[in-house]
Symmetry: D2
Subunit: 147 residues, 4 copies
């Protein structure tokens, strides 16, 4: 069971656990059919099923969709830090380690590995239901204070 | 005007220039509404318009969609090399340089910067209609010979 | 205590544990004063002390030296796989997480995270004696068979 | 001929053009024997000769030394922006495109591709005297204001 928290954003996100992906208030996770499984401050996990629309001409999952999932998770983890400011992603690196095909079930993990005053460093990876690591990513994000 | 070519894949792709994006035979460029503008051996350019569905909670274009566009273009450029084998993307790095919002018109460029026997190195970038560079990416791809 | 091994390269490297860094047969680890602490198949750990020569104008350790240490460790880990072929590094990504100054003691870890037939994916990180992570890196390497 | 400049740091650096590398006030470029060839605001070029000490066990130039040269050049280019604050390197990505051996002459180019208020994006590459690109790198740097 998840730890209790006074972090209001974590509390809010946890209410989405087990709900239909169509209830996401934002288009990217909604359209990717992301099932939120776990969320802590600085950490989250979702589940997705590979859609026919995500395939490249070789009939395997497009790397861009993998990155979209991981980028989304790293941004979400930044959000769970519950800071008054937002974070802008500076860069992303991704490594593709295995392929996935239509109907495969994937878990996407995100975590804030280091939290600085201005910069945070986030990591993410995608694990196939069969235990293989499919892809991994890192990002650096910059705190920004809207004018 | 584009150079004449004996490369049959380039010839085939050029027939798509000016056609409706719904005619792409593959879901990723079709769903992203990619207009093919130019294609040479090892080089291509498309145009897209930022959709409401591509936005993150800050109402700016999601980095994952930027990467999907660039990853797609680098894969397409690999295809134009007209080799008997395919290419698998090993890794991707992306830098986010500026934001884009709904309705913005973006050009996505791809190019094979180095073509080796086993490895190719590809680059891509997204340029806003206003001339600003929005994002850039690099990938290394490995030739693979299906068994 | 390290596990017993029939891997001859691991056996050979283990004989260097506890010896003077000047006994390295190769210039990079020798000149960096790398003390080999642990080695397994696909995994190794060294210790170094930050030298005055490694500093940038801000009197902190130059990122290039951090990368040299991590690149070296990932190559060493590839070597411990004891394959008949060599590995060529395709790319490297590094994130700088904390600074180090002259005299600081650093541990550098390397590991082969994924071993494929043609490609291996390696990771490395530098940890300060005080427990802080200073930098991390990833590389993809390609098996090559000299002609 | 270089453009005239009122940038005092560029002026200062230009006095080093043609001088012995041992006159560098900092250990990294001094020890790498970097000959400064050109410097503009946000752009610079050096020349080095591959030393025996830079080789890996395969007798080709170690990737870490390539990165050290490129990291150094990107930091130098940040310095030429002549800002009251310094820049800290957040991350670096490098791609290795060709090998170099002892005695080879290499040119290392650096450039600030984008200059923001808080972030700058730098690129660098190494070109062999024979015209081949040996390696390329990118970095993001953050302006920091010493307390």
């Amino acid at each position: 069971m998840a730890e209790e928290t006074t972090n209001e954003r974590v509390t809010l996100l946890r209410r989405m656990i087990g709900t239909d992906p169509r209830y996401w208030p934002y288009p990217i996770p909604r359209n990717l059919g992301a099932h939120l499984l776990e969320v802590e401050e600085g950490r989250a996990k979702i589940k997705v099923t590979v859609q026919a629309d995500w395939l490249n001409p070789l009939k395997i999952m497009h790397g861009g969709i993998m990155v979209t999932l991981m980028d989304e998770m790293m941004g979400l983890c930044g959000y769970t830090l519950n800071q008054p400011h937002g974070y802008a992603t500076i860069n992303l690196t991704a490594d593709y380690l295995a392929s996935a095909k239509e109907g495969d079930i994937l878990y996407v993990y995100g975590e804030i590995e280091k939290k600085g005053r201005q910069l945070i460093h986030a990591v993410s990876y995608i694990e196939h239901e069969n235990g293989r690591k499919v892809a991994k990513a890192t990002s650096n994000l910059l705190a920004f204070h809207p004018k």
